[in-house]
Amino acid sequence: MGEPAPPAPDPAGDRSPWNWLLIIPIVVPLIPALFNAIEPKLFGFPLFYWLQLAFIVLGVTTTTVVYQMTKRRGAASGGDR
């Protein structure tokens, strides 16, 4: 087979300790004990509903932090259109 390309200049790959932060929004929404209750209510929403909707914010926050901390600088990044 053809020899693989020479090793990339970045031998560390995409490993980053920041990635561990992503465990939080994967695990927290899977613990029913946290949200399976009516009280306290918020704007008429039982806890079950408003807290799980609030977990969306938790997910957005952690992925945004990890993105900001691991994105490649200097590259033609983002690509807004």
């Binding site: 790959g13 990635n19 799980q52 969306i56 957005v60 993105y67 490649r72 983002g78 807004d80 259109r81």
Partner: protein
Amino acid sequence: MWKNVHVVELVVFAVLFVAVSAMGFVAARWRRPATMEHLDEWGLGGRNFGSWITWFLIGGDLYTAYTFVAVPALVFGAGALGFYAVPYTIILYPIFFLILIRLWSVSHKHRLVTPADFVRVRFGSPTLALLVAITGIVATMPYIALQLVGIEAVLKTIGLTGDSTVARHLPIIIAFAILAAYTYQSGLRAPALIAFVKDSLIYVVILAAIIILPTKLGGWDGIFSAADAKFQASANPADGVLLNANNQLQYISLALGSALALFLYPHSVTGVLASKNRNVIKRNMSALPAYSLLLGLLALLGFAAIAAKVTPLPGTKAPDTNTVVPLLFQGQFPAWFAGVAFAAIGIGALVPAAIMSIAAANLFTRNIYREYLNKEATPAQEAKVSKITSLVVKVGALLCIILLDPQFSIDLQLIGGVIILQTLPSVAIGLFTRWFHKGALIAGWVAGMAFGMWMLYNVSNATRDHFAGSNFPLSKLGFDTKMTIYAGLVAVVANLVVAALGTVLLRAFKVADGTDGTARPDYFVDEDEPQGAATPTEAAVA
């Protein structure tokens, strides 16, 4: 042929639908490539979509019309259990973030188009790749059919329904013919462009509904108490505004299993591979949850429908709860606005249906046609075969709806989720480690499939003996409990156990393994780095 048609709703629906279809045809000229006769162009939109387009495309791809009618329908019928869609779409993105980014890089480097392409080059096994491809195609077909179920729920509510087959299905055949034509012509550019309109409509409709409906139905307090009253009165022990001790495991295993299944579906991969670099994907993983918020609010419309005393339209056997949300809009809003909402759902079905048929067609082209029928296929031939296959796939989905009971499509979709999960070890785990032996992965796939089918076969409820859901009772495995669990997750665990034991055994007996055509750095490359051989299969074989 059609009586009692809501004319204003129909006109608004039709006008928006036609306008969007015109966009679909024009899309071929959008960001026009030198040639459309290449799978990278027709099937992946040029692999060059930036953050905004990717956001609309993947959002339009993952949050389908069926989701938009079925999730509120589930909440309407069962309460809290239906809300699983929210944790499901929260945990999705961190998982996507870690896994798909690697798939994008290795696919960029080796010019891969499908998940089965990856398996082919990673494990050097055409057989394993074929299994992954077939699994993907089989799982995708009923998913496309369900998009039609979504459109049908709307058409039925408008009044385009009747006793004869023609009266019931003609509108959907027309809609699908239009969809097939512009997908054939414009490829992935069509759904990418249409997704802008679809999502804008959906956002407007849902925000209006969430703000206006509570004022009409006694506030959220009133809506939740109406729901609570309904579930208290019902005989079903599994429903309620909260989970009970027996369905919590079902709730979280369904959320986790569905999230793991979603990125294995070929159409998710297609959306991701069409983006132009790693940062686009990462940025999207933090922006896409905006849709989850939408979905969560939409799910609550199921409770609003209870408070509004909506009675679902009759289905073939049981009441068709998918009509709950359309009926809610019809009852609570002016006809023109209901028309806009219906168009949002209808157009919402076209975007994922187009992407799914493209993804299934690419699987056929790359992993069956090119692998087994014409090894020397040129890019133009590949594009041609994919275009034709996309038509075949859509006809197949249409036949599912016309010939089979819609309930059967829903069952097939349920099975689809369980079977697509069986590609997890080779596709997702394969992105991180090459430890598994190709033969063991095949054995694991077989075991997971068989076990998954056996479990689904043994799920019964009051009205049906088999295939009555994915909530497998643990008592059937000998546990002394009434708890249920998502069958797909259990099946994939069995799959992993077999694959791991098989790997140890095959290694012990020194059975030859396939060659890995990828190198570690391939999983981190970005857009500005060189792409490898254009033909990964050859690289792996030579």
